[in-house]
Amino acid sequence: MKHMTRKATRHISQNEGLIFEKSSPGKAAWRLPPLDVPEVDAASLLGASERKDLGNLPEVSEIEIIRHFTRLSTWNYAIDLGMYPLGSCTMKYNPRVNEVVARLDGLANAHPYQPEKISQGAMRIMQSLSDCLLEITGMDAITLQPAAGAHGELTGLLMVRAYHESKGSPRKKILIPDSAHGTNPATAAMVGYAVENLKSNSAGMVDVAALESQMNEDVAALMLTNPNTLGVFEQEIHKIADIMHAKGGLLYMDGANMNALVGKVRPGDFGVDLMHLNLHKTFSTPHGGGGPGSGPVAIKKILEPFLPTPVVITKSDGTLAFEYNRPQTVGRVRGFYGNFGMFVRALAYILANGPDGLRQTTEDAVLNANYIRKGLEGVYDLPYSTPSMHEVVFSDKIQAKKGVKTMDLAKRLIDYGFHPYTTAFPLIVPGALMIEPTESESKEEMDLFIESMKSIAEEVEEDPQMVLDAPHNTRVSRLDEVLAARKPVLRWKPSTAEPVK
C-alpha cells in the first residue's frame, strides 16, 4: 500500500473469546445481601413450575467481565474515535452531560406508575421537551411515545388513518418517493395501506407533475423526507402540500434529516401536517450500537384528537397530569410513556444549544456536507448536481469501471481510519456513497477524509485488487456475509464452542 494515511496506524489489540468459553463452575461476579426474611423452599412454593437448571449461562468473575467487554469495545469504531459519516444517520457528538443528568437518582429510579404527585419532575421534562420540539417544527401538538423513527412513522400513519376514518373512509394508499427509506413503505404496509411509488425527477426531487396525476381520493398521505435522502431540499414543497391538501390528503414528513433545518426553517410553516423526529439523530442521543432511539410525532391541530394516550396536561392547580380519556385516540403504541431517558438527553442538548447554538449547528452541518462535496466532486461521480444540504450522495460509477464497488471503497476507507459512509442507499442511486459529516466534524478531520477518499480513488486506478481485498488493517479481514446467511449460526452451542483465537 504505497498511499499512507495520516489518520491512523496499527496497534496491538487484545483477542477475546466468547464469554461462554471463559466460564467455569464456581466462579462468580455476584453476591447478595443476607436475607432479612425467612428462607423459602422453591419446590414447595412453585411445584412443577420450579426451574432446576439455567443451562449454559456463564460463571465468571468481575474482572473477567470488565476485561471481556473492555476488550470487545476496543474492536468498535465510534463517534468518540473519529468521523462517522453514515448518511441519513446523523452521527453527531453525544454530549456527556446528557448521560450524567439522565442518571440522576430521581429520574433513573422513577417508576412509571408512581403517583403523579411525586412525578412532577419527569412530567415537567416531557412538557418542556414537547414545547421546544413544537417551536422547532412549527407544529401544534406532539406525542413522545414512539420508541424510534420507524415507530413514529407507524404512530403517524395510524393517526392519518384515524383522521380519514373520522371523515368516512381510511382511504387505500400511501404515496412514497422511490428515494425513501425502507421504513416508510414497511410502515405503510403495517398500517394496512397499499404503497404507491413516486418517481423522482432528474433533479432528484419529487416529480410534481407525476404527483399531480397520481394524487386522488384513494391516497391517504404522501410520506416525504425533506431534505430527501439525496440531501436535497424539496424546493417545490409548497406545491406538493397544496396538491395533497387539494384532494384531502395529508403530508407526512419523515424528519430524519431535520438536522439540515433546525432553526432555519420549520416544516409546520411549509405545509407539513405531521412528522416524526429522531431524537437519536438530530438531538444527539447516543446510538449505542443500534439503539435506543426516540421518535416523537409532531402534528397539526386537525390530528390532535387522535394522539396516542396518555397525553401530559396542565391541571387547573398548575400541576401536571397524564390524560387517558381521549375518545378518538389511536390508542397506545408502547407501554408507559416512551423512551423517557432519551427525552432527558434531548432536552439537555437543546438547553446546551439555545436558539443561537441550534442555528449554528445546522449551518455547520450544511457547511460540512458542501465542503466534502466540493472536495470530492470529479473524483467520484455526482449523480445529482442539485445543491446539497446536510449530506451529499456520490456514486461508484467511475470506480465500478475497474470492478470496484461502493462497498469495496467503504472497506478500504476503514484502513484509512474512518468509519464508512452509507453504502447502496438511496436506491435511486446505483452504487451510492451517502456521506453525512454532521456539524461535529472539524475542518482538520474532513480534510483527512477528503485526502483519504482521493487516495483510495488513485488506488483503484493503480491496484484495484488491493482495494477489493480491503480492509487490511483490521483484526479481522472482510467477513463472509453470504456464509452467515446460508447456514445461520445465531447462537453459541457447547458443541460448536471454539478455542479463543
Partner: protein, 458 residues
Amino acid sequence: MRYLPKSDADREAMLKSIGARSIDDLFAPIPAEYRLQRDLKIPRQMAESEIVDWFRERSRENGDGHATFLGAGAYYHYRPVIIDSLISRGEFLTAYTPYQAEVSQGTLQSIFEFQTMICELTGMEVANASMYDGSTAAAEAVMMAVRLTGRRSVLIGRSVHPEYREVLSTYAHHQGLPLATIPFTDNARLDLKALEKSITPETACVLIQSPNFFGTIEDVDAIAEIAHKNGAMLVVSIAEAVSLGIVEPPRQADVIAMEAQSFGVPLGFGGPYCGVIATRDKFVRQMPGRLVGETKDHNGKRGFVLTLATREQHIRREKATSNICTNQALIALMVNIFMTIYGKVGLRELAKQNLAKTTYAAQQFGKHAKVLFSGAPRFNEFVVQTSEDPYAINSRILGHKIVGGLPLKKFYPELGNASLWCCTEMTTRSSIDTAVGLVAESERSVKSAKEEVEEVAR
C-alpha cells in the same frame, strides 16, 4: 457553541473553498418565504452547570429516595455498577448499528452472546437483537404468528399486562385482526374452559403472560395443548425476566416476547427498556428485528455479522417482517452484562430472594387483609384487597417515603379495592412491615366504623 469544533476562521475558509459568499448561499434552496427570520423561542443557551442544576431540581421533584412496592411491568432490581462503567465506554455508547462488521466486532459479538443467553433462559432456539419493549415485542410476536399460520384472529388472556393488550389492539385494529379476550379464574390463571370455547380454526395464536399481570404463573402446558390441538400458536409474554431464574420457562411456547428491563435496566420512568423475541429455528425467517450470526473472514478467523437481512425493511421494504430499524441495542448490552454477572447460579439465587421477600410480604398482608389468587403459584407480585380505597391507604404510606402497591381499579374494576404489590431483593423487611402496619390500621378503623354503624342500627 461549545460542541462545535470550528472557529469563525475555519468557517470562512470553508465557505471560500466551496465558493459561497456566505452561509445563506447554502440555504438558498429553501424558498425564501419559509426561511425563519427570527430566533427560535426556546430557553437561552445554558452553561453545563446550569443544565445539571435544572435537572437536579426535576430529580428532586420526582420521588428521589422513595422505597417502592410497584411492579406491574417495571421492576426495581439492583443494578451492579459495572453495567454503567462498561456501557459508558464511547466505543459502545457512540457506535451506530454494526453495518460495517470489521470495525464493529465488539457490538456484534456482544449481541451474539445476548442472543445465546436469551435462548438459554427461555428454552427457545433463536432470539433477536432486541425490540422496543415488552409491549411492542408482544404485538410483533402476534403479527408473526398471524403471518406464520395464515390465520387472522387472536385470543388474549385478560391477565396479560393491560398496556400490552392496549398496544396489541392498536397494532391489530387497522389491519382488521379480530381480537378476543379470555378471562381468568379465581386463582388468576387463564380460564381453560373459556379458551376451549373461544378457540377456532381461525385462531392464529393465543397470547398469554407468565408470570401474568397478577404475578401468577400460568399453566402453560395445558394452554399450549389447547392451542396446538387447534392448530394455533402459543405466544407467551414474559414481563419479569428475573422470574426465569427460578420459574420454568414456557418451553411449549412457539414464540416468546420478553421485556428484559429487570436485567439491569433502570426504571427510568418507563424507558428505554429492552424487548426481545425468541422462537424456534423454523420460524426465524418470519422473525422481526436484527439478528447477528457467526461467520468467518478471508483467513478463516471467526467473526460476527448482521444476517438474514432479507427479512428487514431496508431490503424488503413493504414486504418486510416489520418496520423496525433502530432497536434498543445499548439496553440489550446492559441486559447482557447483567446476565453475565449473575450467570447460571446467581440468577437463581436472586430469583429465590425475590420469592422469599414476596412470600413473607404476602403472609404478613394476609394476616390483616384479603390476598387474592392464592390458589396458584406466583413469583414476586400478589394482589391485596382492602376495605378502604387503596389510593387513600397509599397516600398514608407515601408519608413514610414508601410507594404502595398499584391500585387495580383502573384496569380491573371488578376487583374493587384491590392493588398489586411487588417485592424484589431491594424490598426491606422493615418497609414491608411498615406498609402492612398501615393496611392493618386501615382495616381496623373500617371495621370499628362498621361496628359503630351496626351499634346505631340496633
